[in-house]
């Protein structure tokens, strides 16, 4: 049997990884690993991971990596980048960490056009803590804290992250939303986001739509259907802002 090649920047002693079967994190991290390899930045990359399922990536890469606190990865990466601009800093977080508890950091880092890259995995719930409502939970979606379905009258509508980041950032920022169902495109967005940091243009942000069959309580077919039919309808995929050439919608 021929196994698929693993990115050089993956840290093999921690493989196979610890994400649930069917989880999209592994796909996002594979795209990130290949992008790091192709850009040749492994030795100068500092990878910071948030609390939540993102945390399981803390020793995923053969890159210098730091755990932080829930929502606080963005300021830690800002501190590193401000101290050592020659390093490539990647903040990796979930929708809860980025859009809820750490939203003030994401928003202000975007406004300041901090030259860091943030990759945010949107799986419409808090996975690690057992499937509570996230800012990205879809209307009507059942979670542990919305057992009768999310009611926008009570909890508002899902946060559209790349849209708000795009609205806040100025020239030089890169903003995109990809999905684990379109791997090549997702990898291209992540690579662009890193290239944008390498060029020192501005804040770089990629949201990756992802899957959580454990907490969605879905089988393989339902999982993929929720991603492609529900999530991608609500959260449009594409580049929202790119100084690297013409944006792709």
């Amino acid at each position: 049997m021929v196994l698929p090649a693993t990115p050089k920047s993956w840290y093999l002693p921690t493989k196979p990884h610890k994400f649930c079967p069917g989880c999209g994190h592994g796909i996002v991290l594979k795209a990130l690993g290949e992008a790091i390899d192709e850009l040749g930045i492994q030795d100068k990359t500092v990878f910071g991971c948030d609390i939540g399922c993102s945390l399981l990536s803390w020793n995923f890469f053969a890159c210098d990596s730091i755990q932080t606190h829930h929502g606080r990865t963005t300021p830690v990466m800002v501190g590193i980048k401000r101290a050592r601009p020659e390093l490539i800093t990647i903040g990796y977080m979930g929708d809860g960490g980025g859009y809820s508890i750490g939203s003030q950091h994401l928003l202000n880092a975007a406004v300041r056009n901090e030259k860091i890259t943030v990759i945010l995995v949107n799986n419409t719930n808090y996975g690690m803590t057992g499937g509570q409502m996230a800012p990205t939970t879809l209307p009507g979606q059942k979670t542990e804290t919305t057992p009768y379905g999310r009611d926008p009258e009570i909890t508002g509508y899902p946060t559209k992250g790349p849209e708000f980041v795009a609205a806040l950032t100025s020239d030089g920022a890169y903003v995109a939303r990809g999905t684990v169902s379109k791997y090549k495109q997702l990898k291209r967005f992540i690579k662009n986001a890193l290239q944008n940091q390498i060029e020192g243009n501005g804040f770089s942000f990629v949201e990756a739509l992802s899957t959580c069959p454990t907490n969605w309580r879905t089988n393989a077919q339902q999982t993929w259907s929720f991603l492609e039919d529900e999530m991608e309808k609500y959260f449009p995929v594409g580049e929202f802002k790119s100084p690297l050439g013409k944006g792709e919608k």
Binding site: F61, H69, R72, R82, H105
Partner: protein, 362 residues
Amino acid sequence: MQKVIEKAGKAFLTGNEAAAWAALAAGAEIMFGYPITPQNEIMHYWTRLAPKYGRGFLQTEDEISAGFTVCGAVQAGKKAFTATAGPGNTLMQEPFSMAEAMRLPLVAIIQQRGGPSSGTVIYSQQEVTLTTFGGNGEGHRIVYSTASHQEIYDYVIKAFNTAWKYRFPTFVLGDGYQAKMREPLVMYDPEEKGMEMVKPYPLVGLEGKIGEGREPQHLCNIYSMEEELYEVVMKFAAEYEAIAPEVVEYEEKNCDDAEILILAHGVVSRAADDAVKALRAQGIKAGYFRPITLRPFPGRQLREVIAKSGAKKMLIAESAYGQFDRLVKQEIYGETIPIYNLFMPGVGIIDYDIVNKVKSIL
């Protein structure tokens, strides 16, 4: 790095200004800050001076971010610091606890204001508990409580060395009076004075190719099993206790024959010092003991003072409702000397207050 103070000389400054100069002289490379009274002028002077010496500054979105950006910058190997007060100190307990957990050489200057809540913007000694034992940890921190502008200058410089030498987050605990008053002090270059400044070094972003001469750094602060965390915390505790004797600082005066011992810290110790002089002039044998490090606390030294003086009474004076008193009592558990207190939360204490209190309990 460019020298900041070419020649030692007298200056007449506010405490906040002295703190900014001291951070520069200590070789701090970047400050992260968020406005809150009464520490603002540390940022104001830093932002004016820093660019002249090639140092950095970022005004963050809040104190949580200021603390975490400092965590990032020190992990990247730069001497970084922040300054805050009151509710800002409350918010910074989160990054301070990360610094404790990851042994980060974070330096923070705290200029205490009144509490609880927004309290006053002016003065207190009500951030003692928060600064020594805040966060969800074990108080593995080093806290210097300063009493004068000279000490602010001296201990801000020292704090960077302490933090980078021992890798415990280090605090200079001042207050609004010290922050805003003007006072003479001598500013100097620490290396000219013979102090060796500890060199910073990175934990991430290391030199070399990964897999060919170096391993990737994976730094964690969360553990899968209780036993893993237990071992980490016990190791930190043992290391903290081992370095404590080298770090502890205190001051005592007139204790040898004292019938009453007066304990105070920070700016209140100046009133205590004056009160001792006044009481002695009136024939009352008073002595004075002042911890300079609130963490680690000079507990053994205080017990020795109690023993050698044979004092019959002890008075604890503070501009808080017993935060310092609790620190003292936990350190001298088992001593039987009666303890009296003068608690004036959020207001200043002068020698007269202490003299009157002493007379009322003798």
